[in-house]
């Protein structure tokens, strides 16, 4: 800018302008140093500021996931304890079965064993009805309902009242928790899974040879929705059930033509006709007029597959009746299946712990990496900032000093 004539005020005003600009810059740097952060407003660097926002959100979510995992882990621990304790008790029951099946022992001995079996059953029931954080652990979604209801009464051959029936009042629900972005896991199998001994089986008596669906319908098997289309015959229905994720196997009985549904792992299967459909009811599996609800099986169908308690009651009764054959045959086999089921669940829960451990590790690493990136985006580098401050300070002093020199002398000083 070439100006040949300089007015007196111009020097002064311009000088002040430059000094002000320096002071503004110094103020900004000072603010960065005091807060420790590079940017105060989004306009300072819109790109970095919004990136920082992303990382803040991610870190927040990881904190939540860690909380979820800890919660899940605590519940899982309890489940593992209960499984372990139940297995121990069942081992003892097995011993008693083996003994009871041995011809050496007398009826009196077996009667004594039956009393012990009854007592051991009561111990398992205490575990099965245990609580977590004030509500029942093993009743599926029905947390306020006690899972196993016990009925006692007179039993043939016994001197005192003993357990006559143990009923499961919960459902098949598994509570899910989010342990990773959009990934969910459940920690607690319901009582109808854990404490089940035999595969559930239902044999319908209705002949399905001419059966054809009239409209589209859906059913619910173990919380899995399976849909069928108009025109499906019995084989198509069986195929769709087998292809679904539900842990059941369907087939048609060659002789009667009735549908058979069996569970593939020991648990109590929940069957329901939903959305106003009546497929399972028409097939003779569910009772007419009871599409939903616990124990809604048709009276005409044959239902097999009981819980550990059913087995133990059977075992105990066999002991009371001195029936060594059943003790050593059917019931010993059932006790073995129960122990196997529990051991499988133990393995599952152990695997879950491994997964949780891995996730905790990985999320921790992710969080550390995000925090580092966030810091590089947001945090001010002290050394750089302090150096900048020193440079600005020097420049500031220089401009102040030169301003003073310019405005010092004028012609006035030299006039007499």
């Amino acid at each position: 800018m070439s100006i040949y004539r300089v007015s007196t005020n111009m020097a002064n005003d311009n000088g002040m302008n430059f000094v002000m600009k320096k002071e503004d810059s110094m103020n900004k740097v000072h603010q960065s140093i005091s807060t420790g952060k590079k940017y105060v407003m989004p306009r300072d660097n819109p790109v970095d500021v919004t990136q920082a926002m992303t990382f803040h959100s991610k870190i927040f979510k990881i904190d939540q996931l860690e909380r979820n995992i800890n919660d899940l882990g605590a519940e899982r621990n309890l489940v593992e304890n209960k499984i372990g304790s139940t297995i121990e008790i069942l081992q003892r029951v097995r011993e008693l079965s083996v003994q009871g099946s041995n011809g050496i022992y007398t009826a009196e001995d077996r009667k004594a064993m039956s009393v012990e079996v009854d007592q051991l059953m009561k111990n398992i029931i205490v575990d099965a009805n245990s609580k977590y954080k004030g509500n029942y652990l093993f009743s599926g979604f029905q947390k306020f309902t006690k899972p196993f209801e016990v009925l006692e009464g007179a039993v043939r051959g016994a001197d005192t009242a003993m357990i006559t029936e143990v009923r499961y009042l919960g459902d098949n629900g598994k509570q899910l928790r989010e342990i990773d972005f959009n990934e969910y896991a459940a920690s607690t199998p319901p009582g109808s899974d854990l404490f089940w001994a035999e595969n559930f089986q239902i044999y319908s008596k209705v002949n399905t040879a001419d059966f054809r669906l009239e409209n589209d319908m859906s059913v619910m098997i173990d919380n899995q929705k399976i849909s069928f289309n108009e025109g499906d015959n019995a084989y198509a229905i069986v195929d769709k059930i087998n292809r679904s994720p539900a842990a059941v196997n369907a087939s048609i009985d060659i002789v009667t033509g009735g549908m058979i549904i069996k569970s593939t792992t020991p648990h109590k299967v929940e069957l329901a006709d939903i959305e106003g459909g009546n497929l399972l009811q028409n097939l003779g599996i569910l009772a007419q007029g009871r599409p939903i609800g616990p124990d809604n099986f048709s009276q005409d169908a044959d239902v097999f597959g009981g819980s550990i308690f059913d087995t133990m009651i059977g075992l105990r009764d066999a002991m009371l009746q001195n029936n060594a054959e059943d003790i050593g045959g059917r019931f010993l086999g059932a006790i073995d299946e129960s122990i196997t089921n529990l051991t499988n669940n133990m393995a599952k829960t152990g695997a879950l712990q491994n997964r949780l451990d891995y996730l905790t590790q990985r999320l921790g690493d992710d969080k550390m990496s995000y925090t580092k990136t966030l810091s590089s985006l947001e945090d001010v580098n002290m050394a750089d900032a302090l150096t900048e401050l020193a440079t600005l300070d020097f420049a500031h002093k220089a401009s102040l000093s030169s301003l003073a020199k310019i405005t010092k002398s004028s012609l006035m000083d030299f006039l007499r």
Partner: protein, 632 residues
Amino acid sequence: MISTFHGLEMGKRSLASHQQAINTTGHNLNNMNTEGYSRQTVKLSTFEPLYVPGLARSETAGQIGQGTTVTSIDRVRDQFIDNRIISAGKDLGFFDMRNKYLQQMEMVYAEPSVYNDPSQYNTLRRAFDEFMSSWSDVANNPDDKAPRNVLVEKANILTNSVRHHFNQMTDIRNNVDIEIKNKVGELNEIASKIAKLNERILKSEAVGDHPNDLYDSRDVFIDKLSKMADIQISREDPDELILYIGGKMIVQGAESEKLNLTAQADNYGYSDVYWADGEKVAFRGGELGSLVDVRDTDLRMEQKKINSFAVNISDLVNEIHRDGFGLNETTGNDFFSTHPFTTDPTGNFDANRDGADDSTFIFKVTGANTLDGNDKLGIRGTMNVNNVEIDYYETDTLDRVVRRINESGAGVNAFLNPQGKLTVKADYYGDNQSPDFVIRRLEDNGLFLTGYAGILNQSGAEGGFNSNVVNETGTKLNAQSVWSIAPLTDPAQYMAIEKKIENDVSFIAVASGIDSDGDGIKDISNGIGDSQNALRISSLKDNKVMVGMSLSVSQYFENIVSDVGARGQKAENGFRVQETIMNNLENLRKSVSGVNLDEEFANLIKFQHGYNASAKFISEMDKMLETIITKL
């Protein structure tokens, strides 16, 4: 033969001239610090010499000089620089105001995190994160009341934050409106002052004077005015200085116009600026141009964005919440309270307030038919959504067409809901032709919206849905489609949790359920231990649900903040650039018109010498006359 007293007269003249010159130099020195002062110079020229050729001419050698006289007192001013400054004033004024208010707007969002203190969370983003996280906590303990209470608290923080942000924007708008009112008042006053000055200047010029100080005064006012609006100046007619704003005259010689403010009923009572003859003032820059822009465009858009967040979150959470079951096994409850635009269940509304319903305001519509996103359409045609034409072809999959609708800029969010039905939801618009969150138009010349999705009854123009026609829901929409009435204006202002839920947290629908009777609505709860509904709600955080289903909520916030930051940065840069430009121009002006102390002192000495010389000359003449009178 010249007159005896010729010399004395000449000396006297010279004294007077030099005295005048010294006075003017003094005037310059005194006014060194006066704002807008231009230095004045005295133009000395020789007096009319003797003799003019004519009969009365004396027979002596001529022409004889008659000394010096002051012909004029001029101010040193470069009009070209003045004009450039007037022209640059509007840009400086524009960016100055824009920077000032955009900065306030940026601070509302309180990002980065209230100057980076992570324990503070009055940012909208943090409130939302915490709200979503509390759903996750409820999902961990579905049977427990304590996390539900925490959820209600976090929800209250969220709605409070939304309302707060909206109200802050409103406050800034109010402030801008007040500033507009003040500036218009100031503008009117300055214009009338300029007109009065024009009158006085005209009178003074008529008798041949240069009213320099009045000129300076007028120039200061014109400079002030040039910052406020985009002023053009016309100096062509020396008797009449004309100033224009946007092509219309605001000052014409001694006459000035007044600008009026009229409150606008459809803009919250904010005032628009009008000429006296009723025409709206078209500002193209200047402080007023910037203020109107910031108030009605920038701030209003921010309010719309916050509204969009409020409406969409309310709608999405409510939809999932209605599907779920509370601790007390009730279902069908909203989580956030909703306020429909009209209580008329058909969505009819009287928009022009003439007593008869004339519009249909619906927010979203879901088709009757269950579809699969991977299906190929097998039909072709063109649909019209909110006056944007969207084509579809036989080979398109449904997902493709849905994406096309979202990317078309029609201002809707289209998606397949969990039951597989096509849903079209309105978002905010850039203009004010209709309220926001109202579907303006749906039409299809083919079968997509009609037979395929089950939204409209009929193809073609006769079957098209228009929001500015009454009774459209009954006639144009498919009888099995589900639609909902548009929300009352500015949903962010009244976002709140349903009172029912605040009073009893058992109503919070954490569990999912099944539909037992086939009516499409779930009616039996899975049980207290089920948390699937809560998990669905908490997964909203990362799903892409905003802006044509292209952004997740977190990304939406980031977009808002980066947009505001970028605009702020632009305004600040613009301001600094204009400031520098103005500075340079003013330096140029000062270089020409500014007083230089040394120069004035030197002049003072110069004129002083001249004065002394004249005085000495008079003294000599006096001696000569004395010789003639006393000695001859």
